[in-house]
């Protein structure tokens, strides 16, 4: 067990705790205004979404456009649970996240099955359709409020809970990727024919990636619902899926620290630029384009690897480093 308490892990833990303590004291000192405070939970939620989508897009190498679908399935089931269950918050909320995650994971299997037969653009279209189907169903289902939205969700989410769930997500996915199962998932991305001839059960690992990613998207959805107190089907449209995908691509596919940074920036940037009113979306777009260009620049990547990891040639530039 001594390997759990390595210097690196202890340092990582200290960093994680320090960031939390910093948030807490800053908040206690009244440093955050209402807008900034309202951003904390969405930042955590978006990081969960981006890191989980990265498992499919970056590590399994399949393009999906339905991540908002998984999120909405989890959000609605989790929120329905807290509305109807009459339990204390400390029991109810974790249970709601678990239930939301599990139901989303079931949908992960359902959408993962076509993923066994389809690749690339075709899979992207199928998952896109999946997200839209979910949204249309929610729009017309009076049980969950239809297009008017689901109201009266208790506002359980706060940044302490969101932060812990985010850390758990990052640790789980980073550990998964570095295990033999994660290696198998990466081998499918690199060469599926060779992977199969090496005795890797491709079907199982594709489904595993979809299930794990969908689970965490569902959990993020539950957090989201309990943060706003209301859920609307229109939130989970195509644009939301694209937004998550942009975070993954901008951070670099197959890089977990990259996803974290990109999710943070993409959540914060529109708010930071609010003062510039008219030019806000323009600057936002320019930043995205510049980031994409930089990500494809060999010299910038070298610089990045240099900063993030000592093992310079390793893939993904050191997956758990910078897991804050």
């Amino acid at each position: 067990m001594s390997k759990v308490f390595t210097k690196k892990n202890i340092l990582l833990f200290v960093v994680i705790a320090a960031i939390y303590a910093l948030l807490f004291t800053l908040d206690g000192m009244g440093f955050f205004n209402r807008q900034t405070r309202a951003l904390l939970v969405p930042i955590c939620i978006n990081i969960i979404l981006a890191v989980s989508l990265n498992l499919i897009v970056g590590f399994l190498g399949e393009l999906t456009l339905g991540h908002a679908g998984f999120m909405s399935v989890g959000a609605y089931t989790g929120c329905m649970f807290t509305i109807y269950a009459d339990l204390p918050m400390a029991v109810e909320f974790p249970l709601a996240m678990l239930i939301g995650g599990v139901v989303a994971a079931v949908f992960g299997v359902i959408i993962g099955i076509p993923a066994l037969r389809l690749r690339g653009d075709y899979l992207a279209i199928v998952t896109l359709a999946f997200g839209e189907i979910i949204r249309s169903i929610l729009n017309n289902l009076s049980l969950v409020g239809g297009s008017g939205g689901l109201n009266g969700i208790p506002k359980y989410s706060n940044y302490a809970i969101a932060y812990v769930v985010m850390i758990v997500t990052i640790v789980v996915i980073a550990n998964l990727v570095k295990s033999r199962h994660g290696r198998a998932i990466c081998s499918i991305r690199d060469n599926v024919i060779a992977s199969e001839s090496m005795g890797i059960p491709v079907v199982y690992y594709k489904l595993l990636a979809f299930v794990v990613a969908a689970f965490f998207a569902g959990v993020a959805g539950v957090l989201y619902g309990h943060n706003l107190g209301i859920l609307k089907p229109s939130t989970f449209d195509f644009n939301k899926s694209i937004e998550i995908l942009v975070m993954v691509v901008m951070g670099g596919m197959g890089s977990i620290p990259g996803s974290i940074i990109a999710a943070f920036l993409i959540t914060v940037l529109p708010e930071l630029l609010r003062g510039l009113a008219d030019y806000r979306m323009l600057i936002y777009a320019v930043v995205l384009i510049v980031m994409m260009l930089l990500n494809n620049n060999a010299r910038f990547n070298e610089f990045k690897t240099h900063i993030f990891a000592k093992k310079a040639r390793r893939q993904g530039a050191g997956l758990t480093e910078g897991g804050e």
Partner: protein, 252 residues
């Protein structure tokens, strides 16, 4: 009994009979060559033996067990490993991880062990690292273990592919044109490697090759295919001086 027993194997694509009545029996520990002009059906035979194509007629058995109709995954688990004519490494993974993929089924820790980093994870990963190290050292690749596979020079990529295939602990190793794209020096080195693999790992090897020097240099027995049919079978010296074979390769 022979390790690999192929009986009257044949496959048709529509009206085209790509391989017809192909029979061969390979003893354990043999170094067997499969040669023939372009389009003779050599690679198709490999595809059938690894389950990618299902043969239309005939059967093949490994160690007495009939493997006809099995999927590539099942056949890999039964002990046939292969390399590819156009190298298929896991390019964005390190050299070490490439070999560890080959070793994937040698340890059994489950997803939870991996995510929670339970003791089984550390125990099994250490075993994997040791096994991979041993294999990479044999092929003189351990110094490059942290390189991405795509950054290796060509000759070393070929070696890594062989190391990765051996990592699955196969009974039979299929090499698809291992010398393709190599210069004479690299080919000579490759011949040593193949011979070494056979002796060191007590491996049975079936290889497809165009390079006659390599084939006559290391194979103990060969089969010549032409237009999907077996043209000749036997010791390299006899087969290569067979007039039918010379005609097939050089024309009349």
């Amino acid at each position: 009994m022979a390790l690999l027993e192929v009986t009257n194997l044949g496959i048709s694509f529509g009206g085209l009979r790509a391989v017809d009545d192909f029979s061969v029996s390979i003893e354990k520990g043999a170094l067997y060559g499969l040669i023939g002009p372009n389009g003779a059906g050599k690679t198709t035979v490999f595809y059938m033996l690894t389950g990618v194509y299902q043969p239309t007629v005939g059967t093949f058995a490994l160690d007495g067990e009939n493997l006809t109709g099995k999927t590539p995954l099942e056949i890999s688990h039964k002990g046939i490993a292969r390399t590819f004519q156009n190298i298929r490494l896991f390019n964005k993974m390190t050299v070490l991880d490439n070999v560890k993929i080959g070793l994937h089924n040698h340890v059994k820790y489950n997803v939870l062990d991996g995510i929670m980093r339970l003791p089984a994870y550390f125990r099994d990963e250490q075993k994997l690292n040791e096994d991979a190290k041993r294999l990479l050292e044999v092929f003189d690749l351990y110094g490059e273990k942290d390189y991405l596979a795509s950054n290796l020079p060509y000759g070393k990529q070929r070696k890594l592919e062989i190391a990765r295939a051996l990592a699955t602990a196969p009974k039979l190793l299929l090499l698809d044109e291992p010398a393709a794209g190599m210069n004479p020096n690299e080919t000579a080195e490759l011949m040593d490697t193949i011979r070494f693999v056979r002796d060191e790992f007590d491996m049975t090897i079936l290889l497809i090759e165009h390079d006659m020097k390599l084939v006559s240099g290391i194979c103990e027995e060969i089969t010549v295919l032409n237009f999907g049919q077996v043209l000749a079978q036997g010791k390299p010296a006899e087969v290569l001086s067979d007039p039918k074979v010379i005609v097939a390769y050089l024309g009349e």
